[in-house]
Amino acid sequence: MTGFWGQARSLRKLTFWFAAIAAACLAFADIDITTRSPGHELWRMATGLVTPRIDDPQQWLDAVITTLTFSLQGVVLAAALGFVLAVFYRRAWVRILAAALRSVHEVFWALIFIQVFGISTLAGVLAILLPFSGTLAKVYGEQLEEIDPAPARAVQSGDRQSVSHFFYTRLPLALYAMRHYTAYRMECAIRSSVVLGFIGLPTLGFHLETALRTGDYGAASALLFTLLALVYSLRFWFRAGLLWLLVPAAFIVRPISANWSAANLAQFLRDCIPAPLRHDWPLEKTGRWLAWLGEQVASGAWNTALLAQIALVLTGLFALLASTLNSSHFVSGMARRTGDGFLLVLRSLPEYLLNFVGLIILGPSMLPAIIALTLHNGAIIGHLLGRHSDEIEPPAIPTGPLGRFAYHYVPTLYQRFLAYCFYRWEIIIRETAMLGILGIPTLGFYIDSAFQFLRFDVALILIGVSAGMTMGADFISQRLRRNLRMEAF
């Protein structure tokens, strides 16, 4: 009995502290609406949304193909690399490598690779491949750890592990879950591929950015529906049987190429050496440089932590409420399909795009980023949580929906809910840092300006800081989740 109360109290305490910190952060955050008539812009967007228009079908098709080939090539290569890493996931250095790869956002990877390889297929594919292989290594690795060990023990004595035993007695047991997760990552890759367009690669996002910037909401609407259609269509064509054809086709239609020269690469690598070392500055100048850099690190990290904390708590709140749209405890039949469809559409919209639209309507502040992070991540967790709730029994004593929500639904699902939120925490930090590119002063803002002034040394240091924050959240969340599960016994 004490175990149960201790557990309940610790969950409640944990929630209280996270929410209290978020509320304190809100006091420091800049969340003003700065546009004069947000309603007017919103109305124009709504009109555009219902009148989608494709002006140049050739250009549109080209962008669709690039979006698909980037994501397909990236995911297939990431699955291969992630698989190899997952096989050796018990080794500490593999886990650290995977964590480091996924702690840097696709957009940051792309900013680096565009410097080295220009606007090219290689830059786009590498930007997806590296972080995705880190995520896939982690998930595949965990899936392989969770399988039933009995078949392996039945045919081999002792701890000897051979490649043959792996393929006969371990891989088949995890393969279904691995394929399922890979299909989900393909959906993420399409989103990432679109976002890479916003920073210059020739995917759908490139044209979407132009359309949104110029207020051509009809064209933007067509591109948005194209993104949704691509994500929705995955279930029909992302299948083992078709991939034998589609993957080679992707590499033929958009062969991996780069425009790079050794001189260019050498220059880039030289520029990555911190300026004081590169130019052998006097101490006094180095001191000023360090102070200037420290200011950026401090401001960027502070704002990233602030914004991520608010977004994490609001994401949780939104997810808890939105999950009822996809739960058999509250809706059924047509209503549930509609609710789930709504969550799936929200999930398909990348934060970057939501934030971009939010900036146009609300003007520059942290508010659009908070909304974007909350909607996207909340929809992902809400969808999962709702589906998970189907497994729990209906309450013994029937009550109205509000009573059911407060006395049955939330208490029974709370542990799982927190686990999902903490799982998402590192991703929210990673994305908060990245959204700085759009102008809010998180780390991405300083990283983007460093790239603009060709200060690659500064950019890499700031990317390192952002990766460190992401890995820190990953570490804390792992500890928390382990503790939660331990107390659940």
Partner: protein, 225 residues
């Protein structure tokens, strides 16, 4: 007869799944010798330590023993053919194993078909293991043990899900294929028919260990009382 394994003053424990918890005693063995040609039946109520003793023998005999676990422990997603083949992965090269997973070679098909015939699972070779009934799974696990082709057989209730006649035939087959065997059984009369030595376990120790022809029916009776 040559001695295969000798146990002296062994205290075997259940593997504990939680940390900081002392292992519980499963079986204490003062002296037990396994010789070539022994057909041992392990008898005793459930929890008497039969599985623990078998696991310990398996560790001691390492590469010379075929293993047939109590739960069939098949890979549900693989075909019966591949589950049986998995018994002998060490015998073939890694390349041959992987090739056989995607493209079964005629040689292995024939070997395994011949093996499956007397067990009555020849028609099931290309069925996924998850679609089998309990008795069928058990026969696949037996085929997997046979395919290991080791001189000693260690089996934990290998015929518990089969009817008496089928069980007897299969135990006969297992005995013919292995020079030495140690089989945990719950059916005492079946054990007396196919084995030449009976070890009775109870109260966490060996109660008796005697050749079948010197066994008093009362002794076995007492084991289950």
């Amino acid at each position: 007869m040559a001695v295969l394994l000798e146990l002296r003053d062994c205290r075997l424990a259940y593997p504990s799944d939680r940390k900081n918890q002392p292992d519980r005693l499963a079986l204490a063995v003062d002296e037990l010798t396994l010789r070539e040609g022994d057909r041992v039946a392990l008898l005793g109520r459930s929890g008497a330590g039969k599985s623990t003793l078998l696991r310990h023998l398996r560790d001691g005999l390492a590469d010379s023993a075929s293993w047939c676990p109590q739960q069939a422990a098949l890979v549900p997603q693989l075909k019966v053919f591949h589950n049986i083949f998995a018994g002998a992965l060490e015998r073939h090269s890694g390349f041959a194993n992987l090739k056989n997973l995607l493209l079964p070679s005629p040689r292995f098909r024939e070997e395994i078909a011949t093996l499956a015939q007397p067990l009555g699972i020849r028609e099931l070779l290309w069925t996924k293991a998850e679609e089998l009934s309990g008795g069928q799974k058990q026969r696949v696990a037996i085929a997997r043990a046979l395919y290991q082709r080791k001189p000693v057989l260690l089996a934990d209730e290998p015929v518990s899900a089969l009817d008496r006649r089928q069980g007897r035939d299969i135990l006969d087959l297992l005995s013919r294929r292995h020079g030495t065997s140690v089989i945990a059984m719950h059916n005492a009369s079946l054990a007396l028919e196919v084995c030449n030595r009976v070890i009775g376990l109870g109260d966490q120790r060996v109660l008796f260990d005697s050749p079948v022809d010197q066994l008093d029916p009362d002794t076995i009776e007492r084991l289950y009382r």
